[in-house]
Symmetry: C2
Subunit: 485 residues, 2 copies
């Protein structure tokens, strides 16, 4: 607690004035706690009684509120002239001024569409939220997770661990992707990152020079687009058909990077054919380019056998593989990983070190145990069954309530569907989203996933955070919202 006594008047008045000033300057903000009188008196070298008198004075004048036992707090409701002082103590410079002070990357980041602030939670809250990427708690998994967490916390690794990632985790992840994704990799090729967004950002930063053409799918995950745009990429948007991205439809001259989601194109759900996969690899080789394979939800396939990753077909070190744990465990974990060609390891490790030195060790160690003890793959099988059921129910409900009004894409995999309206246009979506929200239903337009959004209205419906009954009810309410207008 930093307060200066001015040496005038009685000690308690000096303390009172100093604290009062601190409150006016918001060094002590509304509602914040004053130091315990015992501590402050010790810090200032005055008797505790002096501090008590000063607090009483502040209390008498309404600057602070005492909660017996709970300590003394700055009044949450301060007189207007005080609030004025607080407001003016932080000037907000005009936006242009700030933009002028930013690097080219900073200016592009501002314009990339990446959120510049987190919007407040919607009021009323969304009871049936079809937000893509959210998950529902799975008690069986969380119980195990908590147990492993407690065990590792008993014996916490406190100091820095390798930038590449926790060694055991790299081993278990490499075995997992070899086993389940047909990937071709050694533990040394695995780099642990804070979720797939960091993998995208790191790749964009290390491989894209402003002005470089970068091939992306149209539509595509907007987080990737925003990272590439911030890096100054000139985006080459290749159309997606039933076989996945169609390279032959665009001019890729000079492109050194292509971002693809072969196992389950986001958001259309198309699975890239083997022919196209080999075509992509040849393209990369002939253009001295890299393929950025985002295998974001390959774990969720229903009925069909899993499709091998492009990385597993690549013997020439052209593929950068990105895996995430957000879809199969939970997003707030912030863990993902990359499988890198060996010659890219040094720059990516240096980049990771510069970004944040390493990902948090505790989560990495817990995840390593979770995989090595077999919980991970058991959990995956259970989630596959759960999400298959959610998907079935969602499809039924859409059929029942919307029927021919919609056309549905991407039903064979993943944790979302793409729903196109036959008679609603894109411009009508905002209004529909508002009407649905009023009924407690969260829906999200497909627009954001396009570089050039289509005329036709479409929604991406995520279903991994709701129970089958919630999904049914959510679709019923959505149908009402559609009829509302």
């Amino acid at each position: 607690m930093l307060i200066r006594l001015d040496g005038k008047d009685a000690l308690y008045l000096q303390v009172y004035r100093a604290l009062r000033q601190a409150i006016l300057d918001t060094d002590l903000g509304p509602g914040s706690r004053l130091p315990p009188t015992r501590l402050l008196s010790r810090d200032l070298g005055v008797s505790r009684n002096v501090v008590l008198q000063a607090y009483d004075q502040l209390y008498a004048e309404g600057y602070v509120e005492g909660k017996v036992g709970a300590g003394t707090f700055v009044a949450s409701e301060l007189p207007e002239e005080l609030l004025q002082a607080i407001r003016t103590s932080h000037q907000d410079g005009p936006r242009e001024t700030v933009e002028r002070r930013l690097s080219a990357w900073g200016q592009r980041a501002l314009r990339s569409g990446a959120p510049t602030r987190t919007p407040p939670y919607p009021e009323p809250p969304l009871r049936w939220d079809f937000q893509y990427g959210e998950v529902a708690p799975d008690e069986q998994c969380l119980k195990l997770w908590r147990r492993l967490l407690a065990r590792r916390a008993e014996n916490l690794h406190l100091n820095y661990s390798p930038a590449e990632g926790w060694p055991e985790l790299r081993v278990h992840l490499s075995e997992y992707v070899r086993r389940s994704r047909g990937a071709l990799c050694s533990p040394e090729q695995v780099l642990v990152v804070n979720g797939s967004q960091q993998a995208l950002d790191l790749s964009a930063r290390l491989l894209i020079e402003p002005g470089d053409p970068v091939v992306i799918e149209e539509p595509h995950y907007q987080g990737a687009r925003q990272s590439f745009l911030s890096a100054g990429a000139r985006l080459v948007a290749a159309p997606v058909d039933d076989e996945g991205l169609n390279l032959s439809a665009v001019d890729t001259e000079g492109a050194r990077l292509a971002y693809i989601t072969p196992s389950h194109q986001f958001p259309t759900g198309a699975v890239m054919s083997l022919a196209r996969r080999l075509e992509m690899l040849d393209w990369a080789e002939s253009h001295d380019a890299y393929l950025l394979e985002d295998d974001y939800d390959s774990e969720y396939r229903y009925g069909s056998r899993p499709v091998e990753s492009v990385q597993g077909l690549d013997r020439r070190g052209r593929t950068i593989y990105i895996g995430t744990l957000s879809k199969v465990l939970f997003p707030s974990l912030r863990l993902g990983f990359m499988v890198l060609p060996e010659d890219l390891l040094p720059p990516f490790v240096a980049g990771k070190w510069l970004l944040d030195r390493q990902s948090p060790t505790l989560e990495q160690a817990v995840l390593a145990d979770f995989i090595s003890e077999g919980h991970f793959e058991r959990h995956l099988r259970r989630m596959r069954t759960l999400n298959a059921e959610r998907r079935r129910v969602l499809l039924e409900a859409l059929e029942e309530h919307l029927g021919d009004a919609v056309e549905i894409q991407g039903t064979n995999a993943g944790v979302h569907l793409l729903v196109w309206f036959r008679h609603l246009r894109a411009v009508e979506m905002d209004d529909l989203i508002r009407r649905a929200a009023a009924r407690g239903v969260g829906i999200y337009s497909v627009d954001r996933y396009f570089l050039s959004p289509p005329e036709r209205g479409g929604l991406v419906l995520g279903y991994s955070s709701m129970s089958p009954p919630e999904i049914r009810r959510g679709v019923a309410e959505l149908a009402k919202a559609i009829r509302d207008e």
Copy 2:
């Protein structure tokens, strides 16, 4: 598990061949586990007996090892020709080729001095390691931490939380820096990051354009230098005297950013005088520049009262404040925070989102509890006492064993000392470091913290990871190592 049956011969032979190929291709690496026969037979739609026969065949030929109950594993010792296949399956492209493929940032990052791989742990291990920044376990703190961790894990927040940081944590951090560092900030100005390195990287990325002059202290924290160099900064190294960085000694024309450690200059320990602090603020205002205030270990002051942060003197939004929890809690936590001028919030929030969307939620929530329940400041007081004792013992031991052979800087604060040799030159340090390591003592040259290292030999001795007896013994062994040559 991705294996293809070729349809020739008996089923068990097809399965055997497919698995054998997978082992040769290292799709199944040495020591990795084969899928349970029950699962594989189900996946392949063949009888379990077929799979068992295939496994027996592989076992007979030495490709796999069976551990009863523990499952079947690929042999860890494979015949040479197999290992050959494994090695050649990852070609290492020539370094130049890769550099050519990197962005300018990537190429600078490679040359910045940031580690491109984590070196293996030293053999024999260092029994007395004066590594700066490492911490010793503090059972009292860890017990509390584990308790809060378990409580928050009971009720884990699974989905994304704001990029700005966990709301409660931002409130508690802002109160903490107002109270203890005299900072002037509202919770909205706090951005939670993954340790101070991410704060440095984010600032460099948002504020530095290639070619921009950036003022740093000489010497300085090398992680900051490496981030600025990677961003393409032209470094202007200002000398440090007893009053801290001396701006008048350098040409700062065109500089828009100055990186400073006013409360405890790293690594010299100088405390920036009030006059210099005000000078820095005026400089920033007149140059339309920002001050990047790294308050990395201000919590550790011995005897003297804490010094107010520069941010707390700044009413014109010129200071970007960086705080870290690595020094007071533990580095593997990877949590730090920034206090930003309000007009810089939008670009920094967008930047943080693009980097990794958010820091892990669990640790943020636990830290929020740790602070709000008063554990944090109690812990700080205890650590201050512990580190004061370690420092006292280190100074005594240096006096006893090295006496006039060394000159010591930066004793009034922090968790490290800077030791200059009177008769050893910088070129002799590598040899001394080797001799010390042979005795189990870890020492680190001050060189890395200089843009232009001095002739004279110097060491940065961190003492926060050792007990007083270990410190005494370590210095004694160091003294022997010095006499060795």
